[in-house]
Subunit: 116 residues, 2 copies
């Protein structure tokens, strides 16, 4: 079904390359940002932390997550809550993965990357 | 893939019946709440508003959304941003639908319904 005026659909929201094998789409309001990441097989995102609360949902693929000092093997339907300041990163296993990262507050640092 | 300790998976997160034909699952942090709603065909959720910002993603099904005074016909992959105070409701069309509602701040009013 096509998107109607005023709405968005992930199939048509522009994707921005934000790293090797990492494409990011985003939608946001004033308090919440939703980023949909499509990550190629065998890609590792560098571990990092930020003061934004993050909830990640795995839409498809298998991903090894680093959360603090522990590793979690995650797949479709998994949901991860990362409190502010949590050290985290991920490695996508043998097939492309799609993750939905939800942030609050909005990741203003992402605007520049998408608009530049 | 099964859920690992410390994570959640939508396949095992308890669902609570919160209305005729409406089941709600939820995961939350301090700032963000994610509710996954499974809504039977032909069910209408009463139009309402709240001061929480809401972003809704349609996982599957077809849904007619009321947003303010306009109707939007939505389907899989659609994303709707509802600023605080926006009047909204929905009617699920001819098959069961799954929606992911993201709120900030957390809907504390939902805790009682899930814990009672």
């Amino acid at each position: 079904m096509s998107t109607v005026p005023g709405g968005w659909n992930w199939s048509t929201i522009p994707a921005r390359r934000v790293g090797d094998g990492v494409m990011r789409q985003m939608v946001h309001g004033e308090r919440v940002m939703v980023c949909r990441l499509t990550i190629a097989a065998h890609v590792t995102t560098e571990a990092h932390r930020h003061e934004h609360e993050q909830i990640t949902m795995i839409e498809r693929g298998r991903v090894r997550f680093l959360v603090g000092s522990e590793e979690r093997l995650c797949g479709s339907g998994d949901v991860i809550v990362l409190p502010p300041g949590t050290w985290h990163g991920c490695t996508v296993l043998d097939e492309e993965a799609v993750l939905v990262d939800i942030f609050s507050p909005v990741r203003e640092d992402f605007f520049e990357a998408h608009h530049s």
